[in-house]
């Protein structure tokens, strides 16, 4: 019984301990700024992406085959989109924070569900969750326009800050923490459902995909699938452990930096830019009062070294103090926000009209349709070409030992007495294939040949070749054939059992 009371009490403390909403304020400020990177480029084309005057791609079409959400005209969408941008800016400023967060949540969710093709992503889903939780929180209680106009208690105790920060229950921050932990747990389940993730094939192909932003590091990493397999296992273990270890303990100082590194690497290797930023934003929820106060104390200590920084800080503090002396402005600020919404909607509409996305109101009227070069059109519309053999194979590599069914020491020279493994990587989907590897000497004579079958579910075929002493040191090549047809060739060198070719 005492245990159950203890658990209840701990849950109550977990969700309802009061704290200064430092973390929520930081998320409130940073998240809209980050999302502007997505929202602003879409502003110009909002009529095309989200309105009945364009070509929407509703999320529901992929699930149910129908468009569930109502689609408004381009004018309405231009106005609503401007309102959403304004709400995100005002949320970042902390002007009518809860209302701004709620408007941002509703409109961002609506617009992203209207365009699954080029807007909806999982980081926007996470952002919608964060906006929703911010709208229920006191995220605007500090570092905001709302806070400047609020009546705040003054501390007479000289050891305390001059103005005491407002406190509120921790549960919105706790839900954000739990949210990101659930996301990682779900992502781990996804990986467990994907066998190719643990063979390195999925990651290898994602790193070669040119759908996201540039990621040349990914291309380089794709050369080392063993590394990808190892990183894949680490990722899954980390994602599962996150929900248990991200809480305030010594584990947190391991789990969170791994997360920061992991997302940084997804930017470099997969070209994901916004996803890491949104996740870093959510990570701020793992900072509690003590962490923030300690960080500020550290910053204060550092800033004492620079006089200019001290003077900037003094100006900011004085400015903030002057503003906070006007609580009577709070009501006018709320009224101004209510007036700003329709004004911004109108301005957004006018601006979008001025842009004239479809060039319909220009002097020449509607634009002409663009003709395709006839030769290119013929290529596009020709009957599909039979698949070449070379396109059923990714590459052929050579080495001497396997780890996780992947060559661990990819190389091109072998000593007599070693066993060379020829690994033919196949490109799925492919049919059942006969794969023949032939070793040829420098006079193009076949010195060895082996055949294997690559069935349709296989990603690679391994063939072992003993490099016997009958194979004299020198240059060789291995040709890969299927059904007697040449596919690809790879050169390699046979070295004497001891020493170098030159010594013989």
């Amino acid at each position: 019984m005492s245990n159950s009371e203890s658990v209840t009490s701990r849950i109550r403390h977990f969700f309802y301990d009061t704290e200064v909403p430092f973390a929520l304020a930081m998320i409130r400020i940073s998240l809209p700024i980050i999302l502007m990177g997505l929202a602003l480029p879409r502003w110009v084309v909002c009529r095309e992406l989200y309105s009945s005057d364009g070509a929407t791609g509703q999320l529901s079409a992929g699930f149910l085959g129908v468009d569930l959400l109502p689609e408004f005209s381009g004018d309405v969408v231009a106005s609503l989109y401007a309102v959403m941008l304004f709400a995100m800016v005002s949320l970042s400023m902390g002007w009518c924070s809860r209302v701004s967060a709620f408007i941002s949540f509703v409109l961002l969710t609506y617009f992203s569900m209207l365009d699954v093709v080029s807007t909806m992503t999982k980081y926007l889903v996470i952002s919608s969750h964060l906006f929703f939780l911010l709208s229920l929180s006191d995220c605007g209680a500090i570092w905001s326009v709302d806070a400047w106009f609020a009546n705040r208690k003054r501390n007479l105790d000289p050891t305390q800050p001059r103005i005491s920060y407002p406190q509120s229950a921790a549960w919105p921050r706790r839900l954000i923490q739990l949210h990101i932990a659930f996301v990682y747990f779900g992502a781990a389940m996804t990986k467990i459902h994907t066998p190719a993730f643990f063979t390195g094939d999925q990651l290898q192909y994602w790193m070669l995909t040119h759908l996201n932003y540039q990621h040349p590091v990914g291309e380089f990493f794709s050369l080392y699938p063993i590394l990808l397999v190892a990183m894949g296992y680490v990722t899954v273990v980390w994602e599962v452990m996150f929900i248990f270890c991200a809480w305030k303990s010594s584990w947190r100082s391991i789990i969170l930096p791994i997360g920061i590194f992991f997302h940084f690497m997804t930017a470099l290797t997969l070209g994901l830019l916004m996803f890491p930023m949104v996740c870093y934003c959510a990570y701020l929820s793992y900072l509690d009062d003590d962490d923030v106060r300690q960080s500020f104390a550290w910053l204060r200590r550092r800033s004492r070294r620079f006089t200019w920084l001290k003077s900037v800080k003094r100006i900011l503090v004085d400015g903030a103090s002057r503003w906070s002396e006007h609580p009577e402005w709070r009501r006018p600020a709320q009224i101004a926000f209510a007036v700003a919404l329709p004004t911004i909607a109108f301005l957004g509409l006018e601006l979008e009209h001025h842009w004239d996305l479809y060039n319909e109101r220009g002097p020449g009227g509607k634009p002409e349709l663009v003709a395709i070069d006839p030769e290119h059109a013929n290529r596009l519309l020709a009957r599909v070409t039979p698949q070449r053999d070379i396109d059923k194979f990714f590459a052929v590599d050579m080495g001497t030992f396997l780890v996780s069914d992947l060559l661990a020491d990819r190389r091109n020279s072998f000593r007599q007495g070693e066993t060379m493994i020829a690994q033919c990587n196949l490109v799925p989907p492919h049919e059942d294939m006969v794969v023949e590897c032939k070793l040829r000497d420098d006079a193009n004579r076949v010195v060895n040949s082996m055949v294997a079958v690559g069935t349709r579910e296989m990603f690679r075929v391994n063939i072992n070749f003993p490099i016997s002493e009958n194979m004299k040191p020198g240059e060789y090549s291995m040709t890969v054939e299927t059904a007697g047809r040449h596919v690809m060739k790879k050169k390699f060198t046979v070295l004497p059992k001891y020493g170098t070719v030159a010594t013989r």
Binding site: P41, F63, L64, A169, Y205, G271, L380, L381, A395
Partner: protein, 209 residues
């Protein structure tokens, strides 16, 4: 905010998140409704060994072919240097995109709209420098063009086939003569379901009419 309200929010929120995880883990109802997308965390669940691009082609009555996406206005590239149509993997919006461009432009009468997939193995995405590190032979990239669907000017679908990779998969299975024979063995000649009345040979296994 009253305590009862925050209790309800916490309870509902954690229930919804847990339901999403359980549904996704057990593969039960995870695609039952669009809102599940907000509670199922299946990032990077799919993958392909091929790079795919899409082309929307309109054939005018004069025999001239036109590009129906992107439209002849501000180009929008959502995640880098590719137009929006290339991200519509399910092909749910290609029809809308083509019709929108036709509606907003001057053009001769259009005889048909064709959605074409351009597919190539991702190994050809390797830069020349990395290619040289791994391959002894020069890069010889080739794209395969696959007509996914054909529509009339007003967007009525005349024909549609699965995507190119599904075609390759089907072809690899159809290469097994025993399996093909087995699919014909023991089949009923008369089935009451109306969908079986459409005949047996209007679509060949190689995807041609």
């Amino acid at each position: 905010m009253p305590r009862w309200f925050s209790n309800v929010v916490i309870g509902l929120y954690l229930t919804a998140m847990s339901a999403g995880i359980v549904s996704h883990t057990l593969k039960f109802g995870s695609a039952s409704h669009p809102f599940m997308y907000y509670f199922v965390w299946d990032m990077f669940c799919g993958w392909s060994s091929h790079e795919i691009r899409y082309h929307l082609v309109g054939e005018g009555e004069s025999g001239t072919y036109y590009e129906l996406a992107p439209g002849p206005w501000t180009r929008f590239m959502p995640y880098g240097d590719l137009d929006r149509l290339h991200y519509d993997v399910l092909g749910n919006s290609h029809r809308k995109m083509a019709l929108n461009v036709l509606k907003r432009t001057e053009h001769e009468p259009i005889r048909r709209i064709v959605v074409v997939e351009e597919v190539w193995p991702k190994k050809y995405n390797l830069s020349d420098r990395i290619w040289a590190m791994r391959f002894d032979e020069p890069k010889d990239p080739m794209s395969y063009f696959w007509q996914r669907s054909e529509m009339t000017e007003d967007g009525r679908v005349i024909s549609a086939v699965p995507d190119y990779l599904a075609y390759l998969t089907q072809k690899s299975i159809a290469d097994n003569p025993r399996l093909v024979n087995d699919t014909h063995a023991g089949r009923e000649h008369y089935v009451l379901n109306p969908s079986y009345r459409r005949g047996s040979s209007d679509y060949e296994s190689d995807g041609t009419e």
